[in-house]
Amino acid sequence: MTLRHASYFLLMAVLLVLVGVLQSWSVAMGLLNMCLISAILALGVNIQWGYAGLFSVGTMGFVALGGLAVVLTSMPPVHEAWSAGGLGVLGGLAIGVLAIIAAVQVHRRMAKGWARLAVQAVVVIGGFFLYRAVLDPAVDAIEGTNTAVAGYLGGAGMPVILSWVVGGLLAAGAAWVIGKVSLGLRSDYLAIATLGISETIVAIMKNEDWLSRGVRNVNGLPRPVPYEVNLQNNPDFVAWAQSFGFDAVEGSSIFVKACYAVIFVVVLALIMWLSERAWNSPWGRMMRAIRDNETAAKAMGKDVKKRHLQVFILGSAVCGIAGAMLVTLDGLLTPATYQPLRFTFLIWVMVIVGGSGNNWGAVLGGFLIWFLWIEVEPIGIWAITNLTAAMPEDSGLRAHLLDSAAHVRLLTMGIILLLVLRFAPRGLIPER
């Protein structure tokens, strides 16, 4: 990292401090936390794109799976629902998995031809109906239990931090399956396939209510840090906060965010350390070779398919971890939140702007783009207000422009992306 690149980070820090001074420290800390998560997300995408040149736009799906992991890990189990249909659901899912395994085995064991196709069709279709027959009544039973607050199986009741690991594992597992199926595809096809698969993952989370309440959302997820209200009622804390010149409310808000920030920094540092080590080792050299020229890498004895799968799983796992952290920070799981514009394309902008193939670049991109994503709106409103100040109060155009101010955000992101692609195609901090 050169002095120039270090200065970018310094600038980023200055921007956040400026927010603290001019807006408020709570806003600045809140921004910092989201910047940290965005940086981890960008690292995940960078592992797939920057390291291996995999054009996967399924990030959203892995982020969502991370979020699901938080519910599955940390919420208390709903015993009523388990006794109503827990076994049925497990049985149904087992049948589904067995049917797929059987179909794959048929594919492997039998000779190519119509007979194989027929047997496979019977296994798949029969398995599907059996799966539906076992699963459907169980699901109905579960979803019938106290819909307003439960209606799902609940989680394992474990500490919420653990869910970040689970989120990574869940995303990694899904990536293994998806990678097996789609990594052989050409780049553009891979993009659309992963985009579609990630939409499907979110659709499952929205519609399988027994799993995580679907669109009814899961509220009140446990936190790894204290609650502000409790801190405000704690005289020791209030006194401590006042010694720094903060009142109880502001102090508690900043303290809680600082706790999150510390944990997030630890996670980011850990992932960064592992990424850097890997990228600067023979492993990284091999990955660069594969990205530069797949054919030659194969001829030089590298198992490209296996390595692509590996790197796809790794990147997805990182996205899953970030997804779990995000939901933990929010305190609730809302599957409708997962939109490709926000959770896939925006992350890509972060990586491209920051500099793909460079871990520091991805982190910078994550910080900068999230910062702009949030701060462009007030800046846009301010700019339009001033620009239209000369117009009469009742001007239709003025009202229209003010109403449209919120849409400046997407416009800005597009322009930034285009400018960077054109004038700094390797990003702000390019690969060495």
Binding site: P282, W283, A289, N293, A296, A299, G301
Partner: protein
């Protein structure tokens, strides 16, 4: 060493390799010649696992290697270079060589993360070997340049160098001399001969430059229209009626094609 039996490779209706059979003797430097479109590169690609044959068999030291993936063949000691240089452009010349050795501990993530010392020691050894190869090929002065920025001839040398980073048994060189100047071509020829003698590499060389073939290859196999036409010393090949006709024939056909134009 390598035996090819009745190999076919069809692209739709086009028979690029049409029942080729040949044998490559261990320790030889075999030249593979033939007019453009004779199916030489396709044959290479089938043997090297890039393309799957339509039918036929390839064996290496008696073992069936038909349809194996390129990276599997690499581990069996079968290497190849490319007609158009396939360098790893964003890496330095030295790194291009250092990525080659198989089963590097540092290619496993666990070792890369947690066994730094072991990996560093191993990498030091690989680097030493890479520097030896660079010196051998007389391109040690460009070791730290990005491979994408070196000359075409140097890229060819680099590809040859990559094959030296491992214990190859047989190396396929596809138009190693194309676009390379005289001096560099001599360096390449010297290197091939030395490797053949000192390390016992078997070579198969596709080349259009007959002087080059004449200088290092024996025997020479001539292909035309997907089949093996003749085998022998270059002098024998040159005297072969069929070969002359093949070169002339396709030459004429090509000429006709060029004049009629492509629709």
């Amino acid at each position: 060493m390598i035996r090819v039996e009745n190999l076919h490779k069809h692209f739709g209706g086009f028979h690029a390799v049409d029942g080729a059979s040949l044998h490559i003797a261990e320790g030889s430097i075999t030249g593979l010649i033939g007019p453009n479109g004779a199916g030489k590169t396709t044959l290479f690609n089938v043997i090297a696992g890039v393309l799957k044959p339509t039918s036929g068999r390839v064996t290496m030291a008696g073992e069936d290697i038909t349809g194996l993936e390129p990276h599997e063949l690499f581990h069996k000691g079968l290497l190849r270079t490319f007609q158009i240089a396939h360098e790893f452009h964003s890496m330095t010349v030295r790194e291009n060589l250092m990525m080659v050795p198989a089963r590097q501990a540092g290619e496993g993530l666990m070792s890369a993360w947690f066994q730094r010392r072991k990996v560093a020691l191993e990498d030091e050894e690989i680097r030493r070997r890479a520097d030896e190869v660079l010196e051998f090929l007389t391109i040690d002065h460009i070791a730290d340049q990005k491979a994408g920025q070196i000359s075409g001839g140097q890229k060819k040398l680099l590809e040859l160098g990559r094959t030296m980073m491992t214990d190859a048994k047989i190396v396929f060189l596809d138009e190693v001399g194309a676009g390379v100047n005289r001096t560099l071509l001599n360096t390449i020829a010297d290197a091939i001969v030395r490797l053949n003698k000192e390390r016992g590499y078997t070579f198969v060389v596709i080349e259009h430059d007959m002087d080059f073939i004449d200088r290092i290859c024996n025997p020479v196999i001539c292909m035309a229209e997907g089949k093996v036409l003749a085998e022998g010393t270059l002098a024998e090949i040159k005297a072969n009626e069929q070969v002359i006709e093949a070169y002339l024939g396709t030459g004429l056909k090509n000429k006709v094609k060029a004049e009629v134009g492509h629709v």
